[in-house]
């Protein structure tokens, strides 16, 4: 038992240390800056999507809370940042922080209600939450702009110095900086004992409860953190595009983030990076010509991923490269496969 404990501890310590390949996304961002300067606004949108998918990954990929309405928090963040700017508070960083806090507050209250349920009811309530906000934003069109969207979101220079230019350079650097900070936070979070306990909850909540983990509380904390991050992503989207539309609460957005995460690889941290980039680029190429065709392929890809590649693109890469996870990971993750936890006895 002690050696197992040691293995587990060294696995956790090991997972915090940086590997060389983890530089890839940042090298890719640098390459975009130097080689594709005309694509910087598009790259900023990809960054927003990565942030949103990261937040969704905490809930779905790590904690295993199956919810469809995460767009509620993205939308709350977007409208908070947007309305602040329209109302005269144009400082970007505090605006973004407010967006995060607003979404976290909504996440905490909503989570306290909906995390008591599970299965279909949970799915349903998540969906109802985002539709509820959509109706609210539509109802108070005088404030939110309704179907025309919230226009005139103007942001003052970052630190009072770096003005948002029309080529999207400042916006890109700003987004990249936010992504970097979020990445550090999420990476630390999911590799921490708290993050591992979320994985445990996903694999077997009954057993986690039995060994003394306050399951509901942990889920609520993860849910609130994730909501905050989704709010930051939404706020960033409002600031970068200078526009918020009602579609932030729409089912299309909810579907998009689902696909991004699943195609990239859920519960893998970098799935959000790979998925968002792949999704946005392919969509940009295909959907312009033929949105119907695009929808058809997205559906087929989703089905194929479920049946043949549950790990998404990253899972496939891991398989091809033969990169097996460290043994301690199997030790931790391989045990809880049975949903009922009945096979306890056979392992002793």
């Amino acid at each position: 038992m002690d050696s197992r404990k040691g293995q587990a501890a060294s696995f956790i310590v090991d997972s915090h240390s940086f590997k060389v390949w983890e530089l890839t996304p940042w090298l890719a961002l640098a390459a975009t800056w130097f080689m594709l300067p005309t694509y910087l606004p598009f790259a900023s949108q990809i960054i927003v999507m990565i942030l949103f998918a990261l937040s969704y990954d905490i809930v779905v990929g790590y904690a295993g809370i199956v919810i469809l309405g995460h767009t509620a928090f993205f939308g709350v963040g977007a409208y908070t940042a947007g309305l602040l700017a329209v109302g005269g508070w144009r400082e970007p960083i505090t605006g973004l922080i407010c967006a995060g806090f607003a979404a976290a507050a909504v996440g905490l209250v909503a989570g306290a209600v909906i995390l008591r349920t599970r299965g279909l009811t949970l799915l349903m309530l998540g969906l109802a939450l985002t539709l509820l906000f959509g109706e609210l934003a539509n109802r108070f069109a005088g404030v939110t702009g309704g179907h025309d969207g919230l226009q005139g979101v103007e942001i003052s220079p970052i630190f009072g110095r770096f003005e948002f230019d029309m080529f999207g350079r400042t916006a890109f650097l700003y987004s990249a900086a936010i992504l970097f900070l979020a990445w550090i936070c999420v990476r630390t979070l999911v590799n921490s004992p708290f993050g591992r306990s979320l994985v445990g909850i996903r694999l077997n909540p009954v057993r986690m409860q039995a060994i003394g983990v306050p399951v509901w509380q942990r889920k609520l904390i993860a849910f609130t953190i994730s909501a905050a991050l989704a709010g930051v992503a939404g706020g960033l989207s409002a600031q970068v595009t200078q526009f918020v539309s009602l579609s932030v609460f729409g089912l299309d957005m909810a579907g998009a983030v689902l696909i991004v995460l699943v195609v990239g690889g859920r519960g893998r941290l970098y799935g959000a990076f790979v998925g968002a980039t792949a999704y946005m680029v392919v969509q940009d190429v295909l959907a312009k010509d033929d949105p119907v065709f695009w929808l058809f392929w997205v559906g087929l890809i989703l089905i194929a991923v479920v049946l043949f590649a549950p790990g998404g693109l990253l899972g496939l890469i891991e398989k091809v490269a033969g990169l097996r996870r460290p043994k301690a990971a199997e030790l931790i993750e391989g045990q809880g496969q049975s949903p009922s936890g009945i096979e306890y006895r056979s392992q002793q």
């Binding site: 199956v66 349920t117 009811t121 309530l125 699943v262 890809i301 089905i303 009922s340």
Partner: protein, 292 residues
Amino acid sequence: MNVSETLISILFTGTAYAMVLYIISVGLSITMGLLGIANLAHGAFAMAGGYLLITLLNRLTLPFGLALVLSAVIVAGFSVVLERLLYARVYKAGEFDQVLLSVGLIFVASAIAQYVYGPIPKTVAVPLSLTGNIDLGLRTFPVYRIFLVATGVAIFVMLLIVIERTNIGMRIRATVDNRAMAEAIGINTKTLFSVVFAVGSALAAIGGGLGGDMIAITPGYPLENLAYFLIVVSIGGLGTVSGPFLAALLLGIGDSACKILVPQFGAFFIYLSLFGFLLLRPGGLLNRVQEQ
């Protein structure tokens, strides 16, 4: 319009809408209770039923009743193929995989629908014998809506008899209550799943076709109406036929009351009361599936 007329109008429209919601969603409640699978693509079968009915009526000019039955049979047959090929593979997988698979199916179905029928909403041509109004003393009512209510009640009674009184109903109830025990005493759950899935899809197709005059048939149908189908199932409870009936009545009448009394709020109050209700009764009105 005076108060009593408004009330009658709300109740009548609401009940007709409720019956459409019921016919579509009851299959979902049974399959979810029985198979334990989150099939979000259920609305796609309703959409398919609607489009098929339109094609059969307009292209082949079949009589309404025959076209309706034929569309249900085709959708049921197709759904069994999907069940065996796709759904059966994720019965034991996590809920998230089931959600993904069904969302994928929704996208594919919507894309096909838009490719074949175009983005513009289609309406079902109601047969002449069911058009017009009829005077029932209080005021006149559209005949077709009365036909909808009658059909909904008839299907409800029929399902109730099948579930409560027949041999196959007994098997279904046993499997919902305890699958392992049902298998142990010799119930072929695999066949049962396919049969129930087919019947549920056929009902969805009938509901989609009949309800085409209240819920427009568009390629966005499965996604746009998903929330309402799920509300009926989650408020009604899984694995029953009576729960969704009550839930559909509540939702249908509540929805038409909201649309008539506070149209500017849309479905806001529906979602709000949904939260309140599920907070008090997370399992729904009548839940047959035991918490494990």
